[in-house]
Symmetry: C2
Subunit: 499 residues, 2 copies
């Protein structure tokens, strides 16, 4: 893996000085083109052995480009806000927006490598983590990002020499600490683990770039040229390079589907409803205050459903049982400017609840495979890959202790019509029917197909869909509350644990 | 203060049931009007004695309005990310955007009251804090916010009864803890402190609303009506109600001003420059890694100056001495959609560095009193009040340990013209001159006035301005670096401490 990076690569200072002015001018040029177009972010990972020039390389990029449009994120001990969310949350919140350059000094690779060297992570866990990382990077590339992963290498002997040299120079001596020398001792172990990590994560869409770190001029010029050429190439690229995804599902040829098979005749009379509502609200109220929930879990609830299916009412009946200080309802509308400058899932990541808290999404990330698919707001490739991305996302949520509960509220076309008409006559403005609602009705069949695909592809053991027969509001509300209770109870009993 | 809230106010259940449907419909209506207009946020503070119905009132507002456009923020122990920023940071980040309702369960009043009761805050400190709060709320109101501050009151005897009643009902028993009974013992102390706090912070723009908490129906109806009427009134209000501010400064009648008196002839030869640059870069590099800095301080640097005054170059020479992982450069451009939905200073609060970190603002909050004033992007009332708001902001920064360093880079009109022409001929795209740059030149005199006012009004002991003679770039860069070093050194020595 590292053979070509132990050849003692060198550039003499004269050639270096000759090439640098043109390289700097070109880098600035291309940075400004990227900034002006605002079409993709540049994500640069800087990793490698100690003393191999990681910090120097970052500082160099700052001095060669316009530092005002670069951000560097260093990740040390996670803050408590980070610890109470999935592992990748801190990296998501640090992603640069389109047009900007984000340098990750220490990245999603650092912790797995460190834990594997320390022996606190099993090989199988590491491989699972690498699998997650590969899919995360594929998502970034599919979203348009230019991902450059640098690994700076030194031979064992070379590392010793570099540390001595850094120590001698008063301007760099501070970079060398006792930990640096300690890490010399684990050099072989690092090579072993890093070799494995780099092999497994050396994907077609986000390959590793291994650079010999011994000679400052060689390392600097290599990185500068690669950053320049990659940004240029990405700018010229007409269409997105897509990581292949599974094709659409073959539909059955008869008339049966998940929604036709629902019994929308379920009903609950007023008295039964009031008894059941009180029962499950009471139970939910206790469950969300149970220390076994608040200390280890969070609750993420997704409400999706046809227009007028009663999402608002079901949400309201559910939260009645919960103290307003413990939950947040996140209504999903069109993404904001800042959200549009980020990968699709970014705007949901930012609202994830902390441990002990509850996030209720009124519409959700499933918009991608529902309205965006049906209305053609995104390409087929985009919504097709969304299934797997969403599964990854929810898997990470579950792994971090979140109880993920997803509701699809289904009503019949006739019942929808009845409710539309009723709403048009009501005095509450909130029930105003828009033209869009009527237009969506015309696409009923397309939505049915989209919903069936969605459930087939994203109902997982850790985050199953609950289809709710919602022609009768009473029945629907009680089913939602009962499901919430059961899912939290299962989590408290330790079911569905992934770690 | 609380006399009218101990009269045993009561509403019979029948009247309550009769009024509620209309009230709910009206509340929904007005909430939707506010949401559609997106002109102002509704900030509701819910405070008062234990057992007075704070939680119930919040839940009630959720059930009477559309819960999807309300957020409730509860503030318990600050997270470590919050602790490493000024006291108000956690409240700023929780402010609702225009169009939405934000309920603060526990607010900026909670901690001062609790600390005063516990005796860990002196009366003089409390009064200073209340002064800060009053100015903060004035800012909110000036920015358009509707601020409703509820205080729920119970007599001592009433509190005991309420706690017993809550305990008896299994649905509410969990609200009563040992702490609730402990607080019964400090009832008199609370009344004393709260009485003082409410008196001092009962301002014309954000008055307190005291509500007797004994009777559920009375309390609910009172709050519902007040919220409704206040939102209606705010919607009808044509112009913003402005808290008065000091008028513009009377200019001197001769030709002298802060900028004309600068000696722009200062120069530094190449050799001197290189020696001084190395010296101060070295010193800065050590200072920002000094544990006395990293453990207690952050560094907030503001760069302002005429176009082409050399801000970019000065920033670059400064950060060369610092590890890229420790600082963030924040280039200030037009606010994003999310930022425009918040008070003016919000977009700067969100970028404040943590303890041990450095935030460098390339242009800053001073845009309000510079470009926005000169170009008429905001009203005179807006930029006039900005001086005091900015001073408050920087005072809070300094109080939290930030070293605030502000540079104004000044060049002569002739030098600017020379640089503009030079830039037009350069090959680097980054130096493109826009029409706007030429237009700004025509307003030179207006900018001079704005700069002089700015320095006069915002150069404070804790956050002084440094005017930099920048006709000679070498001189300017060294002066910037030297100033940064001196200010950090002073902070390390404990000068400029406010607590």
């Amino acid at each position: 893996m590292f053979e070509s990076a132990e050849l003692g690569h060198k550039i003499d200072k004269a050639s270096f000085r000759k090439e640098v002015p043109k390289l700097r001018a070109d880098l600035l040029d291309v940075q400004y083109d990227v900034l002006q177009k605002r079409e993709f972010p540049v994500v640069i990972l800087v990793s490698g052995v100690d003393g191999s020039g990681k910090g120097e390389t970052i500082n160099l990029l700052y001095s060669w480009m316009d530092p005002r449009h670069i951000s560097t994120l260093a990740f040390s001990t996670p803050t408590d806000e980070e610890r109470e969310r999935p592992f990748m949350w801190r990296y998501w919140r640090a992603l640069p927006p389109k047009g900007k350059v984000g340098i990750f000094a220490g990245s999603w690779y650092s912790l797995p490598i460190a834990e594997r060297i320390a022996g606190t992570m099993r090989r199988s866990e590491l491989d699972q983590r690498l699998d997650d990382i590969n899919r995360f990077e594929a998502m970034l590339v599919n979203e348009g990002a230019l991902v450059l992963k640098f690994w700076f290498h030194l031979s064992k002997d070379g590392q010793k020499k570099r540390l001595k040299a850094l120590e001698k120079n008063p301007r760099t001596a501070w970079r060398v600490t006792k930990a640096s020398y300690d890490r010399l001792k684990t050099y072989d172990k690092l090579q072993d683990v890093a070799g494995h990590v780099l092999r497994v994560s050396n994907t077609a869409h986000a390959p590793w770039i291994i650079v010999e770190g011994t000679d400052d001029e060689y390392r600097s010029l290599t990185v500068g040229r690669i950053v320049l050429e990659s940004m240029k190439k990405r700018l010229q690229q007409d269409a997105l390079v897509r990581v292949p995804v599974a094709p659409p599902i073959q539909r059955t040829i008869d008339e049966k589907n998940l929604l036709t098979e629902l019994d929308l005749g379920h009903k609950l009379g007023k008295k039964d409803y009031e008894r059941e509502l009180a029962k499950y609200q009471g139970r939910l109220s206790e469950l969300v205050r149970d220390p076994r929930f608040t200390a280890r879990h969070s609750l993420v609830v997704v409400f999706e459903g046809a227009d007028a299916a009663g999402k608002g009412g079901a949400i309201r009946r559910s939260v009645e049982a919960i103290d307003a200080r413990q939950y947040q309802i996140i209504p999903i509308a069109a993404p904001t400017e800042e959200e549009r400058a980020q990968p699709y899932l970014w705007r949901f990541w930012r609202h994830l609840p902390r441990t002990g808290r509850i996030g209720i999404f009124d519409r959700s990330w499933y918009g991608r495979v529902l309205v965006e698919r049906v209305e053609g707001f995104c390409s087929e490739a985009d919504w097709l890959r969304a299934y797997a991305e969403i599964n990854d996302f929810e898997h990470q949520l579950a792994a971090a202790g979140a109880v993920v509960v997803k509701f699809w509220l289904q009503i019949s076309a006739d019942e929808q019509l009845r409710r539309f008409k009723e709403r048009q006559d009501t005095e509450f403005k909130r029930f105003k029917i828009t033209d869009e609602d009527w237009r969506n009705r015309d696409k009923w069949d397309q939505y049915v197909t989209a919903v069936c695909d969605m459930v087939d592809r994203t109902s997982t053991g850790l985050a199953p869909w609950t289809l709710v027969e919602a022609n009768d509001k009473n029945f629907a509300r009680v089913k939602v509350l009962q499901t919430l209770c059961e899912r939290i109870e299962a989590a408290i009993r330790g079911e569905g644990e992934t770690k």
